[in-house]
């Protein structure tokens, strides 16, 4: 089960459905980045917390885009858990399990990039498996968009030093709470 084979379990049959999936992904992403920011704050990693907040904001803008693209359309009313992604997790928004309390900004962007790359793969798969022209067109547009996001993140990541070996060393042992 590799990252690049994220695909919906059902075939997406309409642009409305595709937009709904896109909206779901963006919404999850906002929540996930905010959750990660909260976790970083709780663990006093403020630099990365701020970074995740920024990412949450950016995803919020993407939601705006999807909203605008959905004007005049009636999107299917799927609930959060009804989106079925192969491998389970929503492609975008980064895997929560890649987080680490000592993670550095470079890691955070890496995490975000993984998410965006999975989104690219997802939309590419939609494009490759659809027979609907409108869906194909929209999917390809979304692929392009997500690839742009990847590029932006790449640029952003270059501003941060690559973490040196020993970045996760903590001289203190884990605390016992109960």
């Amino acid at each position: 089960m590799t990252d690049s084979s994220i695909s919906p379990v059902r075939t997406i049959g309409s642009t409305e459905e595709l937009l709904a999936y896109s909206m779901a992904m963006e919404t999850e992403a906002v929540e996930r980045y905010n959750d990660l920011a909260d976790q970083m704050e709780m663990h006093h990693n403020y630099e990365v917390a701020d970074l995740f907040r920024k990412l949450a904001k950016i995803e919020g803008l993407h939601i705006e885009n999807v909203n605008q693209a959905s004007v005049g359309k009636q999107l299917p009313n799927l609930l959060a858990w009804q989106y079925e992604w192969e491998g389970g997790e929503s492609p975008e928004g980064g895997s929560m399990e890649e987080a680490h309390y000592l993670m550095q900004p470079w890691h955070a962007i890496e995490l975000a990039m993984h998410g965006e790359k999975r989104a690219v793969a997802f939309f590419r798969h939609v494009a490759e498996s659809t027979s609907d022209e409108k869906v194909l067109k929209m999917a390809l547009e979304l692929v392009a968009e997500e690839e742009e996001h990847v590029a932006l993140l790449q640029e952003w990541q270059e501003r941060f030093p690559r973490p040196a070996k020993g970045w996760d060393d903590d001289l203190d042992p884990p605390a016992i709470l109960e």
């Binding site: 959905s70 009636q74 009313n77």
Partner: protein
């Protein structure tokens, strides 16, 4: 979700209490928290009509992070608390949450007997095969060769506890295993578990990134079971005998009778008791 007002009233977010979890970033329990909120939203259960009951451990912190009623009890006794609550208040949705230590070590006896009694509740066990809260000892589900436990430096050398086997043998009515990294899939299973009458066990493999960082690989190792759920306990037993612990999905959906005494008064007043003492 859509351009128009959502016709779904309670969003998953509304089931979070807003208290920030203290779990280590990377912990699988974050995913489970998300799944529980999605499941409750999916079922549109009013937060005041649900109660989440736990014992002690990292996973047992769950009730504090939800906006339902909750009880964070003592180590190992969540199922007893939950049973008492459910029997006295059958109208509530009762969910017990905890880890493999709380549930299968000190809580083992209550686990056995609650499966046996089969009250209508759901038990979510976040299994990370270690005692996280107390610094990383082997738990009942830890394999025999894990050598990092300070109290068992050569490995435990004993067979791990098989919760799904015990649940099936003891009388549980719904048995499933999921991965915490599959947030939506886990949510769907939790919904089914809550809906299904009787005692529903959902074992969620949920990595402990601090004491068992190798468990980050679980998401790549866990695969959906090739089989559909069965309602035949014998068939379920046979599958479990061949289970390598890495299949996800609903294993068993039973038809065992559910424990719920009726609470209906039959006499008009307490004075009627005096009959039996009166000379």
């Amino acid at each position: 979700m859509t351009n128009e007002t959502a016709c779904v009233q309670l969003q998953p977010k509304e089931y979070k209490s807003g208290v920030k979890p203290v779990w280590c970033p990377g912990c699988g329990d974050f995913g489970v928290l998300g799944s529980i909120t999605k499941a409750l939203s999916g079922l549109q259960i009013q937060p005041e009509n649900a109660a989440v009951i736990s014992g002690i451990g990292c996973s047992s912190r769950m009730p504090t992070y939800l906006s339902t009623y909750g009880f964070h009890g003592v180590h190992g006794r969540a199922l007893a608390l939950a049973t008492g609550l459910k029997v006295a208040r059958p109208d509530l949705t009762v969910i017990a949450t905890g880890g493999d230590g709380d549930g299968f070590s000190i809580g083992g006896n209550h686990f056995l007997h609650t499966c046996r009694r089969n009250p209508d509740m759901t038990y979510i066990v976040m299994d990370n095969q270690v005692y996280g809260m107390t610094k990383g000892q082997a738990s009942p589900t830890t394999g025999p060769n894990w050598e990092k436990g300070k109290l068992t430096p050569g490995g435990t050398g004993i067979n791990p506890f098989q919760p799904l086997v015990i649940a099936l043998a003891s009388g549980a009515n719904f048995i499933a295993r999921t991965s915490s990294s599959d947030s939506n899939g886990t949510a769907r299973v939790i919904m089914d578990a809550i809906n299904h009458p009787g005692f529903s066990l959902v074992q969620i493999l949920s990595p402990c990134v601090t004491f068992r960082p190798e468990q980050r690989d679980w998401k790549h190792m866990l695969v959906p079971s090739p089989k559909e759920p069965t309602s035949d306990p014998a068939q379920a037993a046979r599958r479990l005998l061949r289970d390598h612990g890495l299949y996800t999905g609903i294993l068993y959906v039973g038809e065992r009778s559910v424990y719920q005494p009726k609470l209906e008064p039959g006499i008009s007043g307490i004075e009627e008791f005096e009959e039996e003492f009166r000379l």
